[in-house]
Structure formats: structure tokens, C-alpha cells
């Protein structure tokens, strides 16, 4: 989230799309309803009428996978009616930047496409630069090559007729949403966007978010109270795990993972440190070398020296251009290229797409270690239905893990709050925290390397490793400390002192910090994640900022990019819900995004400090599938064409190549129904935890498929009938839930049915059903390789007999 949970209450419009907030993030609705109490309009755009829709003012059903046409039409509406916030767009976004001659867009493809590699040469999309190397600008926004004009041209094609025809949303409903949402272009109004996996889990996932952000930038809704682009992230600490590098392509604090192209620390720093000659651009990533060295120093301790690149040389390097994301990992497993591994708190045999392939992939391993609370479809894959355990060679080690309530530690919520939680009870039986498991396993591996040496022992034996797992020590080190006495700006810090904030981190080995973004959470004042103080100033109280409750990254800032909430002179655009204000020569309110004086003053800086040029990116040349989002159908689509171009699917989408990786053809008559999948309140993700919690299983006991009365009639189904759902990849049994909450769509003059299923039921809880994900494909977005869980093609028939469900 750019903002935080409480801040939702400050919105004039709560726009929920790609999310079932009430069901999957129940607490969000505490704040959504408070916004509603204060007069906000709540809009929910989603294929299904859910518990979120029930509490919204307006629910608009949309065919899954057509968010870009819906939002493209919105951008066109905002531009056509000139509803954008003019000063904000001109001053704070890259609307005025001139795009270089290499950029072009024709019939669904941007310039620079290589069909063999299914990839673009992104250099073609660069800005036109002046003699100082700064993007050229036209502050009149009239130049046909300026971002504003190119944006206009791009979305001019997204007419109401075309959008309605492909999304299945009536023109009337489109206009209703466009009008309500766009009214927040008034400087003192704001709309918050709440999204989740309904936007991300598509082959155009990243571009869905990009386009909504473009709309928010046009309306001046980023950086303001009740605004922002807010990814609702779940209780499984999704925010914390991305911050601290659970993904393969980044290290803690969003530092890129080293590739074989960058053999030395110097090479890494050069490639990853953007430079600008614009004195008004803070270009915050210019500080990356300090963050990288502090991280390395944290990992290698005394062994890390300037001479050995602080241990950079010992880090594994990935091959450039090779994708190591989970679906490709599974692919390598399936092809026998991986011998063994560790899986902690993750149930890929259930929750990853194309479960049959995942399960067969696990069969190929020699060994597998699983850290888990319960037996799951992953820990027990070797005894799954239809498999003889004797035929599986894999040796599985199941390490019993304790639950969150049985250990101390921190959790990062969606609003970037870093909060301590205390152990409530002692762990049950011999269960241990996963931190303990990692620390102890590593120590024993290190002992072996010390005794037996090996080919390349340095990365292991040189690691600065704790003697025992201690969450407090870990939190301290995430913040970081000084490794020697240092004087910075007349103040001396002693060796071992905690670093006050990331501004003090150094690239010479004098500081350690396991995550620069969290630097400040455990400074000289102690562990701020423990704070529960409700004190705030009257200005802060107006927007519920609560700066003394827990701690938020970065530097306790609660609203990111908050300097865009004030005009260039530091005056809040919305005085009644100001986030910051420049008063008597200083900023008041939230921690400003950089302490410089207002932008209009000589020392002032642009507000979007994480961008090299300091501006919000209407035009985003950094995304691999295009600088502007463009509509492409899901990889499996019920239509054979769409009205925007001949390019049916995302030309860059990613899918492993194997005998199992197959897709139904467009408008495949064998699979005429769109299937979307989702979570629900009563079960948590893949359901391993909650299926083992009796009162929750009582409330949601078995796998179902929600479908419309119209589809049920077509298929001769009654409510409660057992059915078989079938895709090109597998079959799943479910109970038909026939409901008015799903509705057929009118698309290109034809009726298209959409059905929905949860993915939380698995065979280790007998009679409840088995993985819905057996139906899904492992096709993914090209930017982050998130799989397309939200749309595939299936057929449905009444089941003659069932084996997966107890009737």
C-alpha cells in the first residue's frame, strides 16, 4: 500500500477492483464503512457479486481478464472530459516529457519486438534527452511526442462501445463508475484504489496495476489522504516477505539479485545505481551502493572487506535472461534437473497452478525437507490419491513448525507497519519456529564445510551467523549498527551503536543493515515495532495517522509520496485532510518524503523520489511488455479476437515448455466457460491451516463452484448437485452453488458464462475435495512471472459418481 488501512476512511470514493476486500481482508471493511459513514461512495468491480459487493453502493460485474479495457476507457473518459488535476499532472508526472523517436505502437505491438525471444528491446522506448542528459519537456503538453499526447492517442481507441463489447459491462454501468471515480480529480477530493490478486494474477498482471496508477496520477490521487494505490496483502506476511526477499529476483530492500553479468561489486553498483543531472531530482536509488554494502556487511561480518567486495564475490549469481520463478522451478523439477530442496510454510502441491505438474515434479526429487504446522498436500505428496508410495523415491523430512502465537517476532502489514507480536503460549510438542530451523540447519552445514572443506566453502564458512535464533537480535540487525566508531555531521557514533536511519548507512563497511528500508525501526530509541502509543497532533488525528503506533517503513512515513499532496509551495491540496504542510519553515504532519523545502524553492525536489527523474510515470519504459498498458486477452480466452488489435494475447507472456504445459485454443468449443479462482474468509490460502481448524471447516466444508442460474439451466444442474469441472489439464469435483451472484456476460453479441471456485480444499482433509489448481495453467505475466489464476477455460457436467467429495 502507498497508504495504510486506517487511511481508507479518508477517501471520497473507495474503488475496489481485483479484490474481494470484505472476504479476504475483513478488517479493511472497518475503514471502508467508516468512509461510507462520512459520505464516500463504494464501488466494486468484480466478476462475482461477493460479500464485498453486498456492502458496496454499486457492484459492476466484469468478465475476468478485461480490466485493461475497463480502465483504458476510464483514462479516455478522464482525458476527454478534462477531469485530470492539471497542476499535479504537469508538475508531478512525466506528462510533459518528450518520448524519443524509437517509440512506436502498431496493432497491439510496441516498437522493438522480437518474436523469437517474445521480448522487446526496451531501449527503443527511451525519452528524448537534452544536452545535459535530462528528458526534454514541453510544459504546454502540446507536442505530439510528449507523454500526455501519446497517452491520449493510445487510449483514444478505448471507446465506450468497444470497452462494453469486450468486458461485458453495460455502457450505463461503465459511465456510472467513470463519473463517480473521475470526480475525485478535484484537488481536495480523493479516491483510494483497493486491489489484490484479482488484478495481479493475470498474464497482464503488472499492467493492470500500472493502468490504475496512471488513472490515479491523472486525478492527483497518489500521495494524498484517502488516495493511493493499495495492494491488500494478506495475513501470511506477504508484505514482509517481499520486503525481506522471498522472491528470487530481489534481495532484502528491493536490491536486484546479482547476475553473472556483474561479477564484481563495482560492476553491480555501476549497473544498479541510476544517475541524474537534474538537481531537482532526489534520485533516491542513487544511494543503492550504501544499502548494498550494508547488507553484504551484515551477511559477512568481519570476513567482508573492501578487498573481497564485502563478500559480493561469494554470492551466487543468476544467469541473465533465465527465469527462476516458482513455475520454472517446478518445470526444472519435473524435468529432473533438481535433486532436492526445502519448502517452508508453503503448499505448492495445492496452491500453485497446474497441481498435477507440481505433484509429478515432486516425485522426481531425491529428497525434500518441509517445515510445516500440519500435514499438507506437499508434505504428503507421496501418498496422494492414485499414487503408490512404493513408487516414489523421494525421502521426505517433515519438520514440525510452531504457530505464530507460539513465538515472538514481527509482521509487516499491508500499510508497511512493522509490528512486534508476542508469544502467547509455548510451542506444542517438539515444534519449533522456522527461524530456529534455518539457524540450526545452517550451523550444521557450516560445521561440515569447516571439517570437510569442499570446492567453494567461503560463502558458508564466512557467513556472519547467529549462535541461536533470537528474533530480537534479528530485528536489531535488520535495522543495523555501526561496525566501528564513525563521525557523521559532527556526531560520533560508537562501534555497536544502532544506526538511527538509512540516511546514515555507508558504502565503506562501517555500517550493517539487513534491510535499508527498515533502518530506523530499531535505532538508538530501541525497538519501535513494540510501540502502541495512540498519541497524535490534531492535524494527524484528522486523518488517523497514529505515528506513534508501531513503526512504518520508510522512516515511519505513513503515506508514501506525500509531497505530491501539496502544491509546489507546500500548501495542501486538501486542507481538510492534509497529510503534510509547510508551516513556518518546516514540514508538519506525516514524515515528508524527503525533508527538502517545497518544490518551488531553489532547494526543492520533485516528489516521486524513487524514480530517476522524480516524476510519477504515466509513461513507464521500465516494464518489459510496454510503456503503456494494452489489452490482451487471458492466455485461455473465450473469444477469438478483440477490438483493440490483432494481438490476441500478451506477446511477452511466459510459460514453460513441456508435454504438460498446454492451453486450450481461443474460443475453444470444448471449454466454453471462463473459470476464475479465489480465496474466502473462512479458509486461509491453500487451506492447510484452516481445514485443520474444525469450526472453520464446519462453516465452509467442501469445494464448490459458483455458477449462474442461466448456466445451470443450460447444463441441467440443480443447486447442490455434484459436478465435474474439466480443463485441458485436469478434472476437479465440486458441488454446484447455483446463484444470482454470478451472471452471464454479453460479449461480442454472444453469451459468455463465468464460474468461480475457491482453491483451498485438498485431499489431506478427506471428503472436502482436491486442488482446484489442477485445472489452471502455468502461464504467467512477463514482468514478475505471477501465474494466471484468475482466468482459464473449463467445461462443467453433472457427476455420475464422486470420489473426492463425501456426499
Amino acid at each position: 500500500m502507498t497508504n495504510h488501512w486506517i487511511d481508507i476512511k479518508n477517501a471520497d470514493v473507495v474503488f475496489i477492483m481485483g479484490s474481494n476486500a470484505a472476504e479476504n481482508h475483513p478488517i479493511s471493511f472497518k475503514w471502508v464503512l467508516k468512509a461510507k459513514d462520512a459520505g464516500a461512495t463504494v464501488i466494486h468491480v468484480d466478476p462475482k457479486f461477493s460479500r464485498t459487493s453486498a456492502r458496496s453502493d454499486l457492484h459492476v460485474p466484469i468478465r475476468s481478464g478485461t480490466d485493461i479495457p475497463f480502465l483504458g476507457g476510464m483514462v479516455k473518459y478522464i482525458l476527454d472530459k478534462e477531469l485530470y488535476q492539471k497542476e499535479y499532472v504537469l508538475q508531478y508526472t512525466n506528462a510533459a516529457f518528450i518520448v524519443g523517436g524509437g517509440y512506436d505502437f502498431k496493432d497491439g505491438l510496441f516498437s522493438g519486438y522480437n518474436p523469437e525471444k517474445k521480448a522487446y528491446d526496451q531501449k527503443k522506448w527511451a525519452f528524448a534527452l537534452d544536452e545535459k542528459g535530462m528528458p526534454k519537456r514541453d510544459m504546454t503538453l502540446k507536442d505530439p511526442r510528449c507523454v500526455f499526447q501519446l497517452l491520449k492517442k493510445h487510449y483514444d481507441r478505448y471507446t465506450l462501445d468497444k470497452v462494453s463489447d469486450i468486458t461485458g459491462v453495460s455502457k450505463d454501468d461503465l459511465l456510472k463508475v467513470y463519473q463517480i471515480y473521475s470526480a475525485t480529480g478535484a484537488p481536495d477530493k480523493s479516491a483510494t484504489i483497493l486491489y489484490a490478486l484479482g488484478w495481479t494474477q493475470h498474464t497482464v498482471g503488472v499492467q493492470n496495476i500500472r493502468l490504475s496508477t496512471i488513472a490515479q496520477l491523472l486525478l492527483g490521487n497518489i500521495g494524498v489522504a484517502g488516495g493511493g494505490i493499495n495492494a491488500l496483502r494478506g495475513e501470511p506476511n506477504v508484505q514482509g516477505s517481499t520486503d525481506h526477499c522471498i522472491l528470487w529476483h530481489i534481495m532484502p530492500g528491493y536490491l536486484p539479485v546479482p547476475t553473472a553479468d556483474w561479477q564484481t561489486l563495482e560492476g553491480y553498483q555501476k549497473a544498479n545505481t541510476p544517475k541524474t543531472s537534474d538537481p531537482k531530482s532526489a534520485n533516491w536509488w542513487g544511494n543503492r551502493p550504501k544499502y548494498m554494502v550494508s547488507l553484504l556487511k551484515g551477511w559477512t561480518g568481519d570476513a567482508g572487506t573492501k578487498e573481497n567486495g564485502f563478500g559480493y564475490n561469494w554470492l551466487p549469481k543468476v544467469d541473465p535472461g533465465v527465469n527462476y520463478a516458482s513455475i520454472f522451478l517446478v518445470d526444472r523439477m519435473y524435468k529432473g534437473e533438481i535433486k532436492g530442496g526445502f519448502i517452508y510454510a508453503h503448499n505448492p502441491a495445492q496452491s500453485m497452478p497446474h497441481s498435477h505438474k507440481v505433484r509429478k515434479g515432486l516425485d522426481k526429487l531425491d529428497w525434500l525437507v518441509v517445515g510445516e504446522i500440519h500435514h499438507t498436500e506437499t508434505s504428503d505428496f507421496w501418498r496422494r490419491p492414485g499414487v503408490n508410495p512404493k513408487d516414489i523415491k523421494t525421502e521426505v523430512f517433515l519438520l514440525p513448525a510452531c504457530q505464530r502465537g507460539e513465538k515472538d517476532g514481527t509482521i509487516s502489514n499491508s500499510g508497511r507497519w512493522h509490528m512486534w507480536h508476542h508469544k502467547g503460549i509455548e510451542p506444542m510438542g517438539e515444534s519449533k519456529s522456522m527461524g530456529w530451523m534455518v539457524v540450526e540447519i545452517f550451523k550444521r552445514v557450516r560445521d561440515l564445510y569447516q571439517k570437510e572443506k569442499g570446492i567453494f566453502p567461503e560463502p558458508i564458512v564466512n557467513m556472519a551467523w547467529p549462535d541461536a535464533y533470537d528474533p530480537d537480535l534479528q530485528a536489531k540487525k535488520i535495522n543495523g549498527w555501526f561496525t566501528r566508531d564513525v563521525t557523521i555531521k559532527d556526531k560520533t557514533y560508537k562501534k555497536g551503536d544502532q544506526v538511527p536511519s538509512f540516511v546514515f548507512l555507508q558504502d565503506d563497511g562501517s555500517t550493517v543493515s539487513l534491510n535499508w528500508l527498515y533502518c530506523g525501526c530499531y535505532g538508538p530509541a530501541g525497538n519501535l515495532s513494540l510501540r502502541r502509543d495512540l498519541k497524535q497532533t490534531p492535524m494527524q488525528a484528522k486523518i488517523g495517522l497514529f505515528p506513534n503506533f508501531s513503526w512504518a517503513w520508510p522512516v515511519n512515513r505513513r503515506v508514501l509520496y506525500n509531497r505530491a499532496s501539496v502544491d509546489p509551495n507546500g500548501k495542501p491540496y486538501a486542507p481538510n485532510k492534509a497529510v503534510i504542510a509547510w508551516e513556518d519553515g518546516k514540514w508538519v504532519g506525516d514524515v515528508p518524503d524527503g525533508g527538502w523545502p517545497p518544490m518551488a524553492t531553489p532547494e526543492g525536489k520533485y516528489p516521486f523520489i524513487m524514480q530517476k527523474e522524480g516524476h510519477g510515470q504515466l509513461y513507464g519504459p521500465g516494464r518489459v511488455d510496454g510503456p503503456f498498458p494494452e489489452h490482451y486477452e487471458p492466455a485461455e480466452t473465450p473469444v477469438a479476437s478483440h477490438p483493440f488489435s490483432k494481438q490476441l494475447n500478451n506477446p511477452c507472456m511466459r510459460m514453460p515448455v513441456s508435454d504438460l504445459d498446454v492451453l486450450a485454443k481461443p474460443a475453444d468449443p470444448r471449454f466454453p466457460i471462463v473459470l476464475t479462482t479465489y480465496g474466502l474468509t473462512e479458509h486461509w490460502c491453500g487451506g492447510a491451516d484452516t481445514r485443520n481448524t474444525a469450526p472453520l471447516l464446519e462453516a465452509e466444508p467442501q469445494l464448490y463452484i459458483e455458477l449462474s442460474h442461466e448456466l445451470a439451466r443450460e447444463k441441467g444442474l440443480k443447486n447442490g448437485d455434484p459436478v465435474v469441472v474439466e480443463s485441458l489439464r485436469g478434472k476437479v469435483e465440486a458441488i454446484a452453488m447455483v446463484t444470482v451472484r454470478l451472471t452471464p456476460f454479453k460479449v461480442q453479441g454472444k453469451t459468455i458464462h463465468l464460474a468461480g471456485m475457491p482453491f483451498c480444499f485438498g485431499w489431506t482433509t478427506p471428503g472436502t475435495g482436491d486442488a482446484t489448481n489442477r485445472l489452471m495453467s502455468s502461464v504467467a505475466d512477463p514482468n514478475v512471472t505471477i501465474p494466471e489464476y484468475k482466468a482459464c477455460l473449463v467445461n462443467i457436467r453433472k457427476a455420475d459418481k464422486v470420489t473426492e467429495l463425501t456426499l
Binding site: 472476504e23 475483513p26 460479500r51 454446484a736
Partner: protein, 217 residues
Amino acid sequence: MPMTFFIDTTRCTACRGCQVACKEWQGFGANETRQRGTHQNPPDLNPLNYKLVRFAEYKEKGRVVWYFLPDQCRHCEAPPCKEAADSYVEGAIIRDNATGAVIFTEKTKQLTPKQMKDVITNCPYNIPRLNKVSGMLVKCDMCNDRIKHNMLPMCVKTCCTGAMNFGERSKMLDLANQRLVELKKKCPNAQLQDPEDVNVIYLLTDDPKKYYQTVNG
């Protein structure tokens, strides 16, 4: 002064936190349930569920409406169940004068099957259930043990949206009336259910029968 629940169904997201928290506090096990084509599960109130969120869906003029009703004992001012039981077994059903909680006691075991049926049918809201294992009539006890220790009833404690409210009757009536006035602006059918007679007051926005057939007595 009796204590009262105010249940604002316009704030309910049917997360069923109340349904689950209730049985967790009571220490009840789970029923073995089946998916029957609805989210409402278990299908009805039962000895292991004193609180149940009921779901009802309609399509009207092309728009879907979905009503949620966190159903429970109303703790009536003059409980008809108690009236019936009193004539058979004194003390089988009592009313705690300090809190207004209507409590089914061990003595309900002494009621004959026919007398039990009388008690059950006398309830206008279809709440009492027979626990065949203990032989008692059972239902929500207002978490009388909790409120005597200044704690909120478990269903109220767990509610994150403000749908479940609990406090002194006069305060809850004020809150209910205030919310009613507010809602009437958008929903002309908004209404409080039997506020004079019960201590669990529901705020609905449509014909009560569309929520559940016995939502009003």
C-alpha cells in the same frame, strides 16, 4: 438496567467471526457439515452453534441483493419461552435481573418432550434447540459469564465492522435510533425489529421476511 445488543446488518460482511468465536468461547466442537449449494453452514442453529449467520439472496431489477443475518436469542423483555417453562418446571429458564440475560438451566432436563416442544414453539424467533447429549434445552446465554467480568460478549468482541454492538439498553436504543435516522435517507425501508420487546435489536433495510422467516416475532 438490562443489557442490549444492537445488530446493524448494514455493517455486517458475513465474515462469520461471531459464529465461530461464539462456539470457540463455549468450547463446542464442530458439526460435520456438507456443502449444499449455499454459504450458510451449519444449515441451522443447533446445540453446537448458538449463533448463526443466515444468508439470503435476490435479484431485483437487474441488481443483486444479499442479506446477512447474524441470528441468535433475542433475550426478550418478557420471554415467552420462560413463561411456558415456568408453568412446568420452576427455574428451568431464568432471567438474570442484573443483565437481562435469559438463561436455560440444567433444570430444562426435567421438562418432558411435550413440555420442551411447548417452550420451543412459544419462541417467536425459533431459537431454542434440544441438546440430545445433555438432555437440556440450549441457546445463547449472552455470554453472561463474560459480561459479569466486564467483558463484551464474544460475538461482539470479535466483530471488526461495528455490526455487533453491546451495552446498556438505553445507550443501545439511542445508537439504534440514530443509525436508523441516518439510514432512512438512503433506505426508506430501514427498520428496527421489535425494539420494545427484545434486547437484541436488529436493524434491517428491507422486508424482514426476506432475511429469514422468523426474523420478527
